[in-house]
């Protein structure tokens, strides 16, 4: 009876192969691999989508280069599919690394734009999402030039990945953004990208933060402010704290390299009054001393610690004040902290949290610990 089974199997396999074709079978070299996408408002239709496609040329030593294609459509999906009429290839989205959004689009609300990207099964939610500081998002892909890589989107991706040792822009991927949108008590933020003219070349630069109320863009923070924001959000893993110390010959700048940071938000509830304590513990090391002051001895070091704690505190408090007065949104996540800790209280407060935030009292308690002084154990003394 076994031969029957084999015949049956062969029949089914052949039937599948011959009659219905290979549905999802597609050759890897036929894919138009999307590296990144920029979304603007269209002139004729609602959306104008600029896509950077990896162009793989033949030959042994050929490096992949990038091609920019722009198309328009009434919906995102429509625009993306219209690409077929331009180049005949269907775009392949699984390897896309960045989404760039223009400010214009972002001010109108971006939930409707990223919905398609989240919903489609081919796209992945670990794509990074950025706001263009230029007029349109498309021009960043068109005009910008990568320093190390040919494909701009991949370069942007690695720039964002390495932000962790700079901490001047948040690294937000689509999924994080969605999660911030979804959860109450946190307002989303996004990194900011600009083109900087350097030596007549247009170089890409990621610096600063875009602040959102719900899904609408309302303002920006610069690089330094972003660092303080990341301090509160406990996202700083590395970076530099610069401190100017008064010295014998004017000021003496000192750079502290951050080796680790732990931030804890602590809601203090008394009757109807809520206060937040922000405990920041930073581990640092002296990495640069531009002078001959002695910060390595106990006395100097403790003073340095105190001074940099003070300036960190000042910076963070200024940022909180700015956000409270200018934007009035909770980008720090105080609300969600309260919700996690005291869900009942949050239930009462959640309705007018934004109003409450404006007058929220926040105490910043920084603690900076200097661990070592890198390679040198003494300051460099210039001798005559």
């Amino acid at each position: 009876m076994k031969p029957f089974k084999i015949i049956l199997l062969v029949l089914i396999i052949m039937g599948n192969l011959l009659l219905t074709g290979c549905w999802n079978y597609r050759e890897i070299e036929k894919l138009a691999i999307v590296a990144g996408v920029a979304i603007d408002k269209g002139t004729n239709s609602r959306y104008r989508v600029t896509v950077e496609i990896v162009h793989i040329s033949q030959g042994r030593d050929a490096k992949p280069s990038s091609r920019i294609v722009t198309m328009e459509g009434e919906t995102m999906m429509d625009a993306v599919r219209n690409e077929i009429s331009l180049s005949g290839e269907r775009l392949y989205w699984s390897h896309a690394k960045v989404i760039l959004l223009s400010q214009e689009v972002a001010r109108e609300g971006i939930a409707k734009i990223i919905d398609w990207y989240t919903r489609d099964s081919e796209t992945r939610t670990d794509v990074k999402i950025l706001i263009s500081g230029e007029k349109t998002a498309g021009e960043i892909l068109e005009r910008g030039k990568g320093v190390t890589e040919e494909i701009k989107s991949f370069e942007l991706n690695s720039m964002l990945d390495n932000q962790k040792s700079l901490a001047k822009a948040p690294k937000i991927d689509l999924f994080d953004f969605l999660n911030m949108l979804e959860s109450d008590g946190t307002s989303p933020v996004m990194p900011l990208i600009n083109i900087r003219q350097a030596d007549s070349k247009s170089v890409l630069e990621i610096m600063g933060t875009a602040v959102f109320r719900h899904d609408k863009l309302i303002g920006f923070l610069d690089g330094e402010e972003t660092k303080y924001l990341l301090f509160i959000k406990n996202k700083v893993k590395a970076g530099v704290l610069s401190q100017e110390e008064p010295g014998e010959e004017g000021t003496c700048p000192v750079a502290l390299e951050i080796f680790g940071n732990k931030t804890r938000l602590e809601p203090l509830v008394s009757d109807n009054n809520i206060e937040f304590k922000v405990n920041i513990t930073v581990t640092t090391a002296i990495d640069e001393i531009e002078g001959s002051e002695n910060f390595i001895e106990d006395k100097g070091r403790i003073k340095l610690e105190k001074d940099s704690e003070a300036s960190l505190k000042a910076g963070i408090e200024n940022l909180i004040k700015k956000v409270q007065t200018d934007f009035g949104v909770d980008i720090f996540g105080f609300g969600s902290e309260l919700k996690n800790d005291k869900p009942k209280l949050w239930g009462k407060l959640s309705n007018n949290w934004d109003d409450r935030l404006k007058s929220l009292k926040v105490t910043v308690i920084p603690k900076i610990h200097i661990r070592n002084s890198a390679v040198l154990s003494k300051t460099i003394k210039v001798k005559d």
Binding site: K2, I13, L17, A62
Partner: protein, 518 residues
């Protein structure tokens, strides 16, 4: 139609045998010679050598043998010469001539009296010499067989770096000798039988009593008895005739050309089937894990052996999986690859006209063609084939953009992995194509379906009642010692129960070496 024919042939054969069965020898020498001549008509290698004792004319004899099947030394010196020249007068009873000759004259180790014609015929065919005597209804059968045999060499297919180099030969007696030299025990039993109505091949069931399972032995004998075939040319015939799961690509009867392997398997409680004219000895029961065992494992350091065995097991899995997984990743699940890899694979495939599935299929076929061609070819030409295969088909095909480089890599990798387990080669090739086809339909899911189906198949087959893949959940302690790993010898105190061995204790060594001293 064919069935009827077969039946007819069978009946015909039986008739011949029956005819001979009834016949007995007559008393007239010439009549007997005529009878034999009649049976072996047109066979001119049959020699009738008539001679007489020089003293007694009544002792007229005729030696009958096949030229080439006998050792002339024996026939001349030990049969003809004693009968010719011996002084038979003293105390010879003429009426009891055959016995007298048997006991007093002929100098041979093995002499029998026989009057059944069928026995006589088959013993002549086996290379014995028949001594017909005038006025006597019985004939003497004197064992005299001597033909050229191959010397004992190292088998090509099972080379070892360490361990005995001896290989089995085509002579059943020599094979048994080689095995018995390793197991000198009265419990080593050898049961002979003849299979094949035309070839009368001698087949020997070899086992160690009190170790081998009686049920398996009974089952094996039953299956051997059921064989009714005209001839057994190699033990491969028996292998297919007695195996379980006849349609499976996996072997359920093992074979080896090394006497040390046979001896080791006998000691584990398996049963060996030695067949004449075949250098490969069959062993039953045979389970999956034996495919990745090698005799060298037992002679080398156990850690190293375990590692090797692990490599072999993994290489079986990889050999069947690599092409299918590659195909499903590059044609269905490109999102699974890291981006740089996508770019490099894509770059290498630019400009290749054929679909991946097709080129993989063709390249795998070409690999099998090369392999098959190289096995059948003389070594010198084989090298040329290798050069053509690697250079022309590999390098040039990539240069000419007929196939992409990854396909070549995958094919070569899969091919080499296949050769790691030579005993599984047939199964690997078939399953590889099956997986490839399945994954061209449903990608990685097709492949997983295939894996589940093959696992189900493997789990369902048995070899002489022993589950082919073993019963993981019922296996206890010592049965694991010789499966995916090879435990150190001092720890393998028991025989694996899985085979159905009865006498489980295999060593009582007190572990002395290696203990901490001081």
């Amino acid at each position: 139609m064919t069935l009827k024919k077969q039946n007819a042939v069978k009946e015909n054969n039986k008739d011949n045998m029956a005819e001979l069965n009834d016949l007995l020898l007559g008393s007239s020498l010439e009549e007997n010679i005529a009878l034999l001549r009649n049976i072996f008509t047109n066979d001119e290698t049959l020699v009738f050598r008539r001679f007489q004792n020089r003293n007694i004319k009544a002792v007229k004899c005729c030696a009958v043998y096949f030229n080439g099947m006998i050792d002339p030394q024996i026939v001349n010196k030990d049969i003809i010469q004693p009968v010719l020249s011996s002084d038979l007068k003293d105390g010879i009873d003429i009426h009891n001539l055959p016995e007298e000759l048997q006991y007093k004259v002929i100098a041979s180790g093995n002499v029998n009296l026989e009057n059944q014609l069928d026995q006589i015929v088959s013993s002549i065919l086996y290379g014995n010499t028949l001594l017909l005597i005038e006025n006597c209804e019985k004939a003497l059968i004197i064992s005299s067989n001597g033909w050229e045999t191959r010397a004992i060499t190292e088998p090509e297919s099972e080379k070892v770096v360490r361990g005995p180099r001896e290989g089995l030969t085509e002579s059943i007696i020599m094979n048994i000798t080689m095995i018995r030299r390793r197991i000198k025990d009265p419990d080593l039993k050898l049961k002979f039988r003849e299979i094949g109505s035309k070839t009368h091949t001698r087949v020997c069931i070899c086992y160690i009593e009190n170790v081998a399972s009686e049920n398996i032995l009974k089952e094996l004998e039953k299956r051997l008895d059921q064989i009714d075939i005209d001839g057994i040319i190699d033990s491969g015939y028996i292998q297919e005739l007695i195996r379980d799961a006849p349609f499976s690509p996996f072997e359920t009867v093992g074979h080896t050309e090394k006497p040390d392997v046979v001896a080791a398997k006998l000691l584990e409680g398996r049963i060996a089937i030695i067949s004449d004219c075949s250098p490969s000895v069959l062993t039953v029961p045979y389970i999956m894990i034996e495919n990745s065992q090698s005799n060298e494992d037992y002679y080398n350091n156990f850690i190293y052996s375990s590692f090797n065995r692990f490599l072999r097991t993994i290489s079986f899995v990889l050999a069947v999986s690599v092409p299918a997984v590659y195909l499903s990743i590059v044609t269905f699940h490109q999102e699974m690859l890291p981006t740089p890899l996508v770019l490099s694979i894509s770059a290498s495939k630019q400009g290749v006209p054929f679909p991946s599935f097709f080129s993989l299929l063709v390249m795998l076929l070409i690999f099998d063609l090369l392999r098959e061609a190289a096995t059948r070819m003389p070594t010198l030409i084989g090298q040329a084939v290798n050069i053509v295969g690697t250079l022309v088909l590999g390098q040039a095909a990539v240069e000419a953009k007929l196939v992409s480089a990854p396909v070549i890599i995958v094919t070569a990798l899969s091919g080499i992995l296949t050769l790691m387990n030579l005993k599984l080669i047939g199964a690997v090739i078939m399953i590889r194509f099956l997986f490839l086809i399945l994954s061209s339909i449903l990608g990685i899911y097709g492949y997983i379906f295939g894996v589940i189906a093959i696992s189900l198949h493997l789990l369902s087959i048995r070899s002489f009642g022993v589950p082919y893949m073993l019963n993981v959940t019922t296996l206890k302690g010592h049965n694991w010692q010789d499966t995916f790993i090879r435990a150190p010898w001092w720890s393998m105190k028991l025989r694996p129960k899985i085979i159905g061995a009865k006498n489980l204790v295999r060593q009582r060594t007190k572990k002395t070496g290696g203990k901490k001293t001081g």
